[in-house]
């Protein structure tokens, strides 16, 4: 188990959660399940890069939204769901960062090491498991973010483009500081 990461750089801030979705988690979870199964079917080879860590549970913590994501990337027992912040379930590793940074990682537009160096990405727990997950996700043919957007047709792609623009603007603001 890992301790709760806290960072002066990564807090949700006084504005709360700018990407707060209106959906209750029980409505979100069937969508997440569909997403992870689709990604698994499209990229069966990615699990080879996870080795024994395919059985591990990862807590993915977008610090500026009100819930976290719980992932077990095991093709035999896939699990991907949203969980509340109050009582995080047991996990081998936790990956924390701003939602847009995590999104751009999934979009293969950001380098994970660079985010780590700038302290915009926090990793706790089993470092090897995280590195394997990173390498597995980085080696898929089409970026995960794009595949997810495609599942929802034109509205999905429009949403991804809007988020990409937001991420680009956030990057520019960071670079200007």
């Amino acid at each position: 188990m890992t301790s709760e990461p806290q960072s002066s750089r990564l807090g949700a801030g006084p504005g709360g959660f700018p990407f707060a979705p209106p959906l209750p988690l029980f409505l979100l979870n069937p969508i997440l399940k569909r997403i992870v199964h689709r990604i698994a079917v499209q990229n069966p080879d990615m699990f080879d890069r996870l080795g024994p860590h395919r059985h591990a549970y990862f807590l993915i913590d977008p610090v500026d939204i009100p819930f976290m994501l719980y992932l077990r990337p095991d093709p035999e027992a896939l699990d991907f769901r949203a969980v509340g912040r109050r009582n995080p379930p047991p996990h081998a590793a936790r990956i924390s960062g701003k939602f847009l940074d995590l999104l751009t990682l999934m979009d293969t537009e950001q380098d994970g090491d660079a985010l780590f160096f700038s302290r915009d990405l926090i990793v706790t727990g089993d470092t090897e498991a995280v590195v394997c997950l990173r390498n597995a996700l980085d080696d898929v043919d089409d970026p995960i973010a794009e595949s997810v957007a495609d599942m929802f047709g034109p509205p999905g792609r429009a949403a991804l483009n809007a988020l990409r623009r937001a991420a680009e603007n956030a990057q520019k603001r960071k670079g200007a500081k």
Binding site: S3, P5, Q6, S7, S8, R9, D48, R49, L50, G51, H53, L105, T108, E109, Q110, D111, G112, D113, A114, F116, F117, S118, R119, I122, V123, T124, T127, E128, V130, V131, C132, L133, R134, N135, A136, D138, D139, V140, D141, G175
Partner: protein, 335 residues
């Protein structure tokens, strides 16, 4: 004045997707390795299976890009078979060269595959004319990858004295790989950079966060650095660790600071010196890194060769600790 020779851009790939990104971004050659101890980036979840290597070589060659295979570790005494198998495999798959550090591996290639190019790895740390001439004479080495300890002026002088090509690092981790530094990890993790191919294996690395937002890097049983809440971080390697010592107040980077090499401003000098190939470090990095760095240096080299002012993209966001240096290329006093 002699016409400038256009240096090859040698780019890293830790996965097939990264290799394709490098090829598409304009790499002249990609270097990559297998998932075993023959490879000095033998990290879990990284590198190529034989099947992936075969497909990747085909993709690279279709795009006019060479593939250089890294067999750049040292076999333990009497255990050279794995290295020989990987040489056989590389030759069969049509690799354009093997990058080797060990003389037994070099001798096997010389005797078995005389047409397969041998590039001498930076791990061999050959930087004097005498050392390089030995490797050329005895093993037919075609290119030497220089350790990051030489100035441009020294490289220019060296090139006049040696009968082979020279490759220099131009971007990425500023790890000097000399003076036995790569052996330091053995003491802490029990695994060898030079023989197992794993410097600071991730299984031995832990990051611990304190309530004030500071972060400690633990390697094995030892804390090797502690970053303040607003301080940028570096790789979890001993040679980039910060230590307490009597001669200094506070923590001291006894070997190197967390900083990346960026020789973009030195490219015209290196080209004028006659360097044959520019190497970008970073097989452990993502394909986003590969795409951005390769594209930036492709544009810069092409601009220089066209007689234009080089266009130098800002790559500081991708550097270790978000700091960069021209290293020894500019001055021996880089720290």
């Amino acid at each position: 004045m002699n016409a400038m020779v256009k240096p090859e851009l040698i780019c890293p790939a830790g996965t097939p997707a990264a290799l394709r990104s490098a090829v598409d971004a304009g790499a002249d050659a990609v270097y990559c390795g297998y998932q075993n101890a023959t490879n000095a980036r033998n990290f879990v979840g990284l590198n190529f299976t034989p099947e992936e290597m075969e497909k990747s070589i085909r993709y690279a060659h279709d795009g006019g890009t060479k593939v250089l295979i890294t067999l750049n570790t040292f076999p333990p005494a009497g255990k050279v078979e794995l290295w020989k198998e990987m040489v056989d495999l590389s030759a069969r798959l049509g690799a354009d060269a093997c990058i080797v550090a060990d003389i037994a591996v070099a001798a096997y290639i010389r005797d078995t595959y005389p047409d397969l190019r041998i590039h001498l790895s930076v791990q061999a740390a050959a930087s004097s004319p005498e050392a390089i001439e030995y490797y050329v004479r005895e093993f037919g080495v075609k290119r030497v990858v220089l350790p990051r300890i030489m100035t441009v002026s020294e490289i220019r002088g060296l090139l006049k004295e040696i009968p082979c090509e020279v490759e220099t690092f131009i971007f990425g981790n500023h790890g000097l790989m000399v003076e036995g530094r790569c052996s330091l990890t053995n003491y802490v993790t029990g695994q060898s950079t030079n023989m197992d191919g794993a410097c600071s294996p991730a299984a031995c690395v832990k990051y611990e966060r304190a309530d004030d937002g500071s972060m400690s890097t633990i390697l094995g049983d030892y804390m090797i650095d502690r970053f303040g809440p607003e301080e940028t971080a570096g790789y979890p390697t001993i040679c980039k660790g910060r230590y307490k010592c009597d001669a200094r107040d506070g923590g001291y980077y006894a070997f190197e600071e967390p900083i990346s090499l960026n020789a973009s401003t030195m490219l015209p000098d290196l080209i004028n010196a006659g360097v044959h190939a520019f190497k970008i470090e970073g097989r452990q990095r993502s394909r986003a890194y590969v795409k951005k760095v390769v594209a930036a240096f492709r544009e810069a080299v092409d601009s220089i060769m066209a007689g234009q002012e080089p266009k130098l993209a800002d790559l500081v966001a991708l550097t270790e600790g978000q700091k960069q240096t021209e290293g020894a290329l500019k001055t021996k006093k880089w720290r």
